[in-house]
Symmetry: C2
Subunit: 366 residues, 2 copies
């Protein structure tokens, strides 16, 4: 048991007499030891150490630079999400060390939409059969995602449930907690007609639409994971289907840090299931909507491949997939190019995708 981790050894959920059950306590201990360094590299001085192991502890205050001074009236922000059936692609290819990035991304990208700073993350992984090496891969991805988003991996639970999951399969869920200054909560209330809508590039499918994507790619078009159709420009199908969900924390927080004055960034949306039409309108006030120019960008090849192989029409593609836009920022039109410069300095591709207009609730295509 890592000293500050509430991750319990999977034996805690062990069925039968431990001997008869074939639950391997050694495997559980090997796993906990194997992931210790992965977990500890996510720690900051705000993780409170050396405690029993029933729960993870986290201080809002740094020892030196009191967070109290940074956050006058801190509001905790929390969310929960899973990865969905993208996991099936990981099972099929055996590549398990990136779905953890997806898991963290799906949560922290939600947190930052309201302007929060991610603080810590916990994971639940339920496996059919505990295999320390496979668990190590899974946790390596989660640890990677936590480092990318500045989150401490504060705890987790590994449950071995052979009655629920096949031997080599698993499900996972993640929980993230962040903090935001109350008077800096970004909730769309400052959005005005004429505001600029900035698209932040995705890294492909991210973690949504895999029911359709898998059906088209594997069942209908019968691609093998190692195939390299022309649309993927040298990538294999496996690489395109498993590309991790992009984590927008650093780029978005760089912008927020530069514009401390309230109301420069007026709304943000993480583009998940439902795509742009499903996620952008929900952060805009009633009576306003987004007018987007479709010609402004070209989605990645994987989207083209799915649309052709389905075939799936464009309206449906935009309803199910992010179509190359993983995150959207709505900003004052006078700051749009400055914001985009900051995003690019943070290595985030971006472009102005449209603007806010009167109307709604559906988005409009220019």
């Amino acid at each position: 048991m890592a000293k500050k981790k509430s991750r319990k050894q999977p034996a805690a959920k062990a069925p039968m007499t431990y001997k008869d059950a074939g639950v391997d306590i050694d495997a559980g201990e090997a796993m906990v030891e194997g992931i210790r360094t992965l977990v500890e590299k996510t720690y900051s001085p705000r993780v409170v150490g050396a405690l029993g192991g029933f729960a993870g502890l986290f201080s809002l205050d740094f020892d030196e630079d009191l967070l109290k001074r940074k956050y006058h009236d801190p509001i905790l922000v929390s969310c929960c999400d899973g990865v969905g059936t993208k996991l099936k692609v990981a099972f099929r290819t055996g590549k398990l060390d990136t779905v953890g990035i997806d898991l963290v991304a799906m949560n922290v990208n939600d947190l930052i939409c309201i302007g929060a700073e991610p603080l810590f993350f916990l994971d639940y992984v339920a496996v059919g059969r505990l295999d320390p090496e496979r668990m190590r891969d899974i946790i390596a991805g989660i640890s990677n995602g936590c480092v990318q988003s500045g989150c401490a991996l504060l705890g987790g639970e590994t449950a071995e449930m052979p009655d629920f999951y096949k031997t080599k399969e698993f499900d996972m869920a993640g929980f993230a907690v962040g903090v935001v200054e109350r008077n800096k909560i970004i909730n769309g209330s400052g959005v005005r007609a004429g505001d600029s809508i900035i698209a932040l590039a995705s890294d492909g499918l991210h973690s949504n639409g895999y029911g359709l994507a898998r059906k088209v790619i594997f069942s209908k078009a019968k691609f093998k994971p190692s195939d390299t159709p022309a649309e993927l420009e040298g990538q294999t199908v496996a690489q395109a289907m498993l590309a991790p969900t992009r984590i927008y924390v650093k780029a978005v927080r760089a912008v927020l840090a530069a514009y401390k004055r309230r109301n420069m960034v007026r709304a943000m949306a993480h583009i998940t299931g439902g795509g742009l039409p499903g996620n952008l309108p929900r952060v805009l006030p009633d009576g306003l909507t987004a007018r987007l120019k479709r010609s402004g960008w070209k989605p990645q090849g994987i989207f083209e491949l799915i649309a052709k192989a389905g075939p799936v029409d464009q309206v449906e593609m935009f309803r199910v997939f992010n179509m190359g836009v993983g995150f959207v920022m709505v900003v004052s039109p006078y700051r749009a190019s400055a914001v985009m410069n900051r995003l690019r300095k943070a290595h985030q591709r971006c472009w102005q995708i449209g603007k806010v207009v009167k109307g709604g609730p559906s988005i409009q295509w220019a």
Copy 2:
């Protein structure tokens, strides 16, 4: 979407073209509407309202009575747990409205071990097929558990994953956040030889050992859920197997509130998988262990039934099950009877089970 809930409609994970996929968006909306009141009855003034829905918001401070004044140096505490294969008993009996209590209990009972006040809870429920009525039952249990433990149900995720779960089956994970004053963290460091060990009665199996329990009760002894073996004293097998995990928050916090001086309550342990031998030593300092007198109490009939029907020997029973003791408090011997009086006033059955002695790491039986 309930105004403060990050619970996404399950369509967010929808596979295929939405129409073809048979994912029922109406069912998702019906579910969200159906659970709204269940969720809102867990809210306190600290839940921050009227926001977009990407995440749940929670203020450490009350409007009036600033938590800052109560917590000089707040430490956030977080943990994550599931219910394990007790869910299979719920599937078999069709009674789904109590496993949510188990889910909350497994988490908040861990939180309070270090002296924390539970603040909020989030759930992940992954289903084979979304059925609004069944989801309502599941969430009713979670809401009930949150009310019992003074937690706001701040958010959740419902994922419909027909490739992972059978139509009427599901898995669930929970995540709780609490807060504790830094200098009141209870971590066992104050434990001394001679301290009294107080057992808090369990309500039966709670949420551990179901691999063995189900095997013995259903596969070996072939009991039906409606059977009423003499050991259960009028309860059915289903009732005994589904009795919700007891939530110790109110009783334990009543004791902590009464003894504000540090170090009166010296260690606490939630007795889960591994039983007393697996959970009590881990909260005691090196060089000290627990000497328990086995004759001091009689475990519930369900334990007797399992031991007989297995047969399972007593050592194994104590390693797998809580054996009637769901929570343990280690207190100053001079306060033991006062603590027990307070627990009883909070309607918690309890008794002195033994004391702390030199030795370790295994517990000793007197």
